[in-house]
């Protein structure tokens, strides 16, 4: 119960959104879609390369297949990275405080993405450019890819944890580091659903890749035919689609209730049915006669795209439902804060505090008080603190008030083992300066 009450209401950045919200949302969903397709291809490609290469230890044709797929990974990964910038930009703008709060709470894992991905990328290049050199030590070569795949598999988990955590401000108070955010319900089901999508998309990609007219298939493979490889593609897609549907259902049931509405369920169900249809077509493709394998290809591609749009849209709807109440409170809190801030700005509390006058100093009291306030942190009467003792000042400047004033306004650098003294040109009026110097020079 206590946790329920303790939902933080941060304040938003008091600057307007750069463009209408609907447009930002559209940009977010569309650019994310592009990004995720390449991520799917990168991750799916790596997993399949690894699998095929291991299989290739026995059957050389699979090794060739692995080599061909591996060439696409490094291209897709570059595209995935640049295309990721736009959704990042949009989510930063649209869900500023939610996203940043989630980032901060999982800080180490979040920043580890950078070195981890860099390493994984370097490994994929290493893998690609040592294919011939490591022909004799295949195991080492496979291990390189294995390591890259392990890293690649971990990264999406960090992202998913973040975008999931972002939707539940009521949980923020209970999170202690990445691990505790990872185990929030819904992270793992979504993760496996995502892995399914990677396989499905890459499977279809393999079909397309090997169907291209200008692809020198016959020069590349010895015994595999185009049909064989396309069949592998479809089979992979079927496995992926199966995973997606299965975990999609689990996602739907484990989704925390707060963002669910009939609209979300309707869209998600529609999206899911599209996947079932794709699955059916893919199944048809490999069970039909050889010459009909491409029969449903275009339909499959379009339906999958439609699925992605619907699914992305439903996630956005869920996010909206889950957060809009909280967003209203944030807006109210921000407005109130701005009002208070404005009020305080217009009626500033007297910043220049009353000088603490020491009556016993008589006419030197003002100077004494200024000294205590501005200089006391660094100068004492007869002891070195940060700067030299006052007695030393007196011995230098006795009878040279103007020099003293100049020093205070713009101090030089004199003593090599002392730090630089700050200047007070803008902070002391001429009058105050006179009072101050009068006081200093009176010290005995």
């Amino acid at each position: 119960m206590l946790l329920q009450i303790n939902t933080p209401i941060p304040k938003d950045i008091p600057l307007e959104l750069p463009l209408p919200e609907w447009l930002l949302v559209t940009l977010l969903v569309v650019s994310f879609l592009l990004h995720i397709i390449f991520i799917n291809l990168m991750l799916g490609g790596s997993i399949i390369t690894l699998w095929a290469q291991i299989k290739g230890l026995k059957n050389k044709e699979y090794d060739i297949f692995a080599h061909e797929i591996s060439k696409t990974i490094t291209v897709n990964k570059s595209m995935a990275v640049v295309l990721g910038v736009a959704p990042l930009l949009s989510i930063n703008t649209l869900y500023t405080i939610y996203f940043y709060s989630a980032n901060a709470l999982t800080g180490f894992a979040w920043i580890m993405i950078i070195p981890l991905v860099t390493i994984a990328f370097l490994l994929t290049y290493l893998h690609k450019y040592t294919w011939e050199k490591l022909e004799q030590s295949k195991k080492v070569h496979i291990a390189i890819m294995g390591l890259a795949v392990v890293i690649f598999l971990f990264i999406p988990l960090i992202f998913l944890t973040n975008v999931n955590l972002m939707m539940f401000p009521e949980k923020w108070g209970t999170i202690k580091g990445f691990m505790s955010a990872l185990v929030l319900p819904n992270v793992f089901p979504r993760y496996f659903e995502f892995l399914g999508a990677c396989l499905a998309v890459t499977g279809i990609f393999i079909v397309w890749y090997n169907n291209r007219k200008n692809y020198p298939f016959e020069e590349t493979y010895k015994t595999f035919t185009r049909y064989d490889v396309k069949k592998i593609g479809y089979s992979i897609a079927i496995i992926g689609l199966g995973l997606q549907i299965l975990f999609g259902i689990i996602v739907l049931f484990t989704l925390p209730a707060k963002g669910i509405g009939y609209d979300v369920i309707a869209v998600m169900t529609a999206a899911g049915s599209l996947l079932v249809i794709v699955l059916w077509w893919a199944y048809k493709a490999i069970t039909n006669e050889q010459q009909h394998i491409d029969q449903h290809f275009k339909k499959i591609v379009f339906t999958m795209l439609a699925f992605m749009v619907l699914y992305g849209g439903s996630r956005q709807m869920y996010r909206h439902n889950a957060l809009h109440k909280h967003q209203d409170l944030v807006a109210a809190n921000t407005a109130e804060f701005q009002r208070l801030s404005k009020e305080a700005r217009e009626n500033p509390v007297e910043v220049k505090e009353e000088l603490e006058l020491d009556a016993s100093l008589g006419e030197l009291a003002t100077g004494g008080a200024i000294f205590k306030q501005k200089c006391g942190a660094c100068h004492k009467k007869d002891e070195k603190l940060v700067g030299p003792p006052m007695l030393e000042m007196v011995s230098i400047y006795k009878g040279k008030v103007d020099d003293l004033k100049n020093w205070i306004k713009a101090p030089g650098k004199k003593r090599p083992d002392f730090p630089q003294m700050p200047g007070f040109k803008d902070q002391l009026s001429d009058e105050e300066l006179s009072e101050l110097t009068k006081y200093i020079l009176s010290i005995k």
Binding site: N103, I175, A332, A377, P422
Partner: protein
């Protein structure tokens, strides 16, 4: 708040950013035109019956290969890394910048995507293009395209960076164009362009050394060309540096409020001068040797030149970073992520009352240390740690004597004035009580050697005044007040 208690939060961003600049200026903006130029030379100097000189072309390809691998891995990821680290360390500032510069960044992104597509095409079609002269010439044209796009990417980024240094009129009219056309934009761009070319040529020289054998004709030729490239750009870089050097302080003076600020700045500034002169002369000498006595050039000379130019870039970025303090966004937001305009409120109510996460809102003697910790987190932790780099106890001990117990009163009279003496620090935000709590906490740190963990391990404590309950009540209260007003009318 995210906080790295040992490494120092700023350091994290700085490290990633500097690495990015070293790679991107050198291997993209300045390097691509150099490689394309080499590729072109290969075609021009080939015998009539071949498309290009194969050995030469292979060398150019190897150069490009290296640049490709590095820019598409470390280069790209450090670019993203700047975002990631900024979103952790300085969320409010990056968030504000993105809102204002959304379109600039969006355009930047489109240019950037184009650049990546071009670099993929340029690199991946290299070998295939060697099959016919037409294809080769097209390929070279592509290289020039790519070079232009790399340059545009940089030009846009410089605009955004320039804005952060000098907000121009942005503060009053918050628009994109005034941000982009700020007074130091052109000088900065003018400076970065030839500098990037020099850096690119220098890296190229090193790679030529790595990829060719000693005392071969091809090395001599290539080294000579690289030397010429560097020599051609160096004077331009120098002139641009002088121009930039002269406009920088004028632009910065607006930001620096007192004389000392300028003096601290002057120290760095002097350093910059020597480093610029030093680095440029080293590069110049090495390049001259390469042109006139290519046989005399040794690997260590080339490496010295690369190191010189790298440290030059690093220092340059460091100074740029330094003169931005105490603001992250000039005159708008301080480096502690508090907006200047909110200071009066913080002075009045204290900062903890308005903080989203704070364990204490009413400071008492018992919870003073705990409160001080929160105050430290909000006002000092972006730049100071408790025990690591630029530790708060260290900077105070350096002032008041190492090993001596710190005096709370001394510190309390220093902190409210610290921004006047040390203009790189923002003024202390918070009220009297919070100041007391802060110094008590610092003293406690000195006594116990405690460390401060950020939200990424410790989690957060929600401020009872800023949770959903409190805010809902506030909303209700405001509504009631409004209704009352309507009724009385």
């Amino acid at each position: 708040m995210f906080h790295l208690d040992w490494l120092n939060d700023r350091f994290l961003i700085a490290m990633i950013a500097i690495l990015h600049v070293i790679i991107n200026h050198g291997l993209a903006v300045g390097f691509i035109p150099f490689v394309t130029w080499l590729e072109q030379k290969g075609v021009r100097n080939s015998s009539p019956n071949e498309i290009t000189n194969p050995e030469w072309d292979k060398m150019a390809y190897k150069l490009m290969w290296t640049a490709f691998i590095i820019t598409t891995t470390i280069g790209a990821m450090t670019g993203v890394g700047i975002w990631f680290s900024a979103s952790l360390v300085s969320p409010a500032s990056i968030g504000s910048l993105i809102r204002v510069f959304y379109w600039a960044w969006f355009t930047e992104w489109i240019v950037f995507v184009t650049e990546v597509v071009l670099i993929l095409i340029y690199f991946l079609t290299w070998k295939n293009s060697n099959k016919s002269l037409d294809a080769k010439l097209r390929h070279i044209k592509f290289g020039w395209f790519l070079a232009i796009f790399s340059w545009i990417t940089m030009a846009l980024i410089v605009a955004i960076l320039g804005f952060m240094m000098d907000p121009g009129n942005w503060k009053t009219d918050h628009s994109l164009l005034t941000g982009v056309f700020n007074p130091i934009y052109l000088p900065q761009l003018l400076f970065r362009t030839p500098t990037a070319m020099v850096v690119g040529g220098t890296y190229g020289l090193l790679m030529i050394f790595l990829f060719t054998k000693k005392d071969t004709e091809i090395r001599t030729k290539a080294v000579k060309l690289a030397g010429k490239w560097i020599l051609a750009w160096t004077p331009l870089a120098l002139i641009a540096a002088i121009i930039y050097y002269n406009v920088m302080p004028n632009a910065m003076k607006a930001n620096l409020s007192t004389a000392v600020g300028t003096m601290d700045f002057a120290q760095y500034y002097d350093l910059l001068k020597y480093i610029i002169i030093g680095a440029i002369s080293i590069v110049f000498i090495v390049a001259s040797i390469a042109v006139f006595k290519p046989k005399l050039l040794k690997t260590y000379m080339v490496i010295t030149s690369v190191v010189a130019i790298m440290s030059f870039l690093a220092i340059f970025e460091r100074v740029r970073e330094f003169i931005r303090k105490p603001y992250v966004i000039g005159n708008y937001m301080y480096s502690n992520l508090l907006r200047e305009e909110d200071y009066p409120l913080y002075k009045k109510d204290g900062i903890l009352k308005h903080a989203t996460y704070a364990s204490v809102t009413e400071i008492t003697n018992e919870n003073k240390i705990q409160a001080g910790k929160d105050v430290f987190m909000y006002t000092c932790s972006r730049c100071h740690t408790t025990n690591g780099v630029n530790a708060i106890t260290y900077v105070f001990e350096r002032m008041y004597g190492f090993g001596k117990p710190l005096n709370e009163d001394d510190m309390a009279s220093y902190i409210p004035n610290m921004h006047e003496g040390r203009t790189y620090m923002p003024p202390f935000a918070g009220n009297k009580k919070e100041l007391k709590a802060l110094v008590a906490y610092i003293k406690h740190l000195q006594q116990t050697g405690e460390t401060l963990e950020g939200a990424q391990t410790e989690g957060i404590v929600v401020n009872q005044k800023n949770n959903s309950d409190a805010v809902s009540k506030m909303v209700e209260r405001l509504k009631e007040e409004q209704n009352k007003k309507l009724v009385t009318k």
